[in-house]
Amino acid sequence: MNIEKKDINQLIHDTRSPLNRISMQAELIKMVLENDMPKEKALTAVNKIIVACQDCSQGLQEITEFTQ
């Protein structure tokens, strides 16, 4: 595998990680809403989703720059 391909794979992996966090935090929010769980948990999860979206966006930007 050449360096470029290795690097692009790493960038893609780094972008998938925040996506994974977003998905799991959303699941947690669903659990809070469906069950009698503290609302603060949902609020924390929402904030983490917002941060993860920014991470994701930055990751996509890096991929775009790398491929141009």
């Binding site: 893609i12 992996h13 998938r16 990680s17 996506l19 994974n20 966090r21 977003i22 998905s23 799991m24 935090q25 699941e27 947690l28 669903k30 659990m31 069950n35 948990k41 999860a45 983490k48 993860a52």
Partner: protein, 442 residues
């Protein structure tokens, strides 16, 4: 409830995944890299490992290799970003490995854990109950033991486990750690296996360059145990002159690594173990009194297998199911075989029973569904014990005297003067007795 090990370096993901897995009803432990995962796997048994494919110190596949090498058989689910990993898994791993693709959803985790749960439930329904995830037995001595474990788990008291060799002292130490309900680690070390030179380094750690060969700094077991449990096996085999150092740590809760100057605070529960009897501890010069009282705040005697014979069929069932599980076989016990096992004395305790079952398992015809037990269970240790304690009603005093003389002469390679001294009789009396018994060969 499954014991799940989640291996992933993304702390935010593991945090939220833990909440979800616990909500589903399982217990979960976290490792952020391969080395931490290996440490967990060496300390306790897991039903399922959820494993990230890319880890800071290697690939998840390295952990699958580690499991194979160490004959560990949890279900493994690789968490991957590529569905293309499927082909690779089919070639590399067995039926107990699958994968889920990122981004994960709760259903993915639930489905993968529940599918495994269904399989284990079938076997579980036939299996005897596991107390604290590892102890088997419903006899009175064991129920008392469980009650003591529950009590001591609520405290931070140091525990000393006493019992014959093979009764399962490390398993009881695991049970105490389990009952403590902590995510902190349990670290085990064997004081009898360490040389005098290395024992300080193992227990207290060392600084880089502290001695020849100390190429890097190393934490000792007291530090590695964190707020968890430190299991010191064969504590009475620790050299007496090392015990003051141990006492200092037990009293001050601080260690100074070898070659270091800074004290490090420690806060673990120490569970120690010995197979010496209480009288030996008191009479023999093997453990300092002050160290004993620090370690044996809560002493626990683990019953010998001969004191809980009714548990033997339950243990036999668990051991056989484990072997079936590992080897994909379907052997079962016949009721009369369980009676044979129950009536054997097992001087080597649970360890000997397990060994005998494993041997019988290997010797059994794979096509048959029943285990083939040997005619006798021969153990070199058993014969020693039997020789020295084979007294039964109906034997004459003459027989016993003859046997005692024979055993003593054997012990001193036939030296009659020495034997007479050991027997507490004159050499002349010994000669007379030997003459009367027809000068039997030693």
């Amino acid at each position: 409830m499954l014991q799940v090990l989640l291996v992933d370096d993304d702390a935010e993901f593991t945090d939220v995944a833990c909440q979800i897995i616990e909500f589903i009803g399982h217990q979960v432990w976290v490792a952020s890299n391969l080395s931490e995962a290996q440490q967990w796997l060496s300390q306790q048994e897991f039903d399922h490992v959820l494993l990230d494919f890319m880890l800071p110190d290697g690939s998840g596949l390295h952990l699958i290799d580690y499991l194979k090498q160490n004959h560990l058989t949890p279900y493994v689910t690789l968490i991957t970003g590529h569905p293309s990993v499927k082909g690779m898994l089919a070639g590399l791993c067995g039926p107990k490995v699958n994968y889920i693709v990122k981004p994960l959803q709760r259903e993915d985790i639930e489905a993968t854990l529940n599918r495994q749960n269904k399989n284990t439930k079938v076997a579980d329904s036939k299996l005897p109950k596991l107390h604290f995830g590892c102890l088997v037995g419903e006899s009175k001595p064991m129920l008392e033991l469980y009650s003591m474990i529950k009590r001591v788990a609520k405290t931070s008291a140091n525990v000393m486990l006493m019992g014959e060799s093979g009764v399962g002292k490390e398993v009881v130490a695991n049970a105490i750690h389990f009952a403590t309900d902590t995510k902190e680690p349990m670290v085990a070390t064997n004081c009898g296996a360490l040389s005098k030179e290395l024992i300080s380094s193992e227990l207290f750690g060392h600084e880089k360059g502290a001695f020849t060969g100390a190429i890097a700094r190393k934490d000792g077991v007291f530090v590695r145990a964190g707020n968890g449990t430190l299991f010191l096996d064969e504590i009475t085999e620790m050299p007496l002159d090392m015990q003051p150092n141990l006492l200092r740590v037990l009293e001050n809760q601080r260690v100074i690594p070898v070659g270091g100057t800074q004290e490090v605070a420690v806060n673990c529960r120490v569970v120690s173990a010995t197979n010496r009897k209480l009288e030996e501890l008191a009479q023999g010069n093997i453990i300092r009194e002050d160290v004993y009282y620090r370690l044996a705040v809560f002493p626990i005697n683990i019953p010998a297998l001969s004191e809980r014979k009714e548990d033997i069929p339950l243990l036999a069932e668990v051991f056989l199911q484990q072997l079936n599980h590992e080897n994909n076989t379907g052997f079962a016990w016949a009721p009369e075989q369980l009676d044979i096992l129950k009536n054997n004395p097992w001087p080597g305790n649970v360890r000997e029973l397990r060994h005998a079952i494993h041997r019988a398992f290997i010797m059994s015809e794979p096509a048959s569904k029943t285990i083939q037990l040997p005619d006798t269970f021969i153990s070199p240790f058993a014969s020693n014990t039997r020789q020295s304690s084979a007294i039964s009603a109906g034997q004459t005093i003459e027989d016993l005297e003859k046997e005692l003389i024979r055993v003593t002469l054997n012990q001193v390679d036939g030296n009659k003067t020495q034997a007479a001294e050991m027997l507490g009789i004159s050499t002349k009396t010994l000669y007379n007795r030997l003459h009367a018994y027809g000068d039997f060969a030693v």
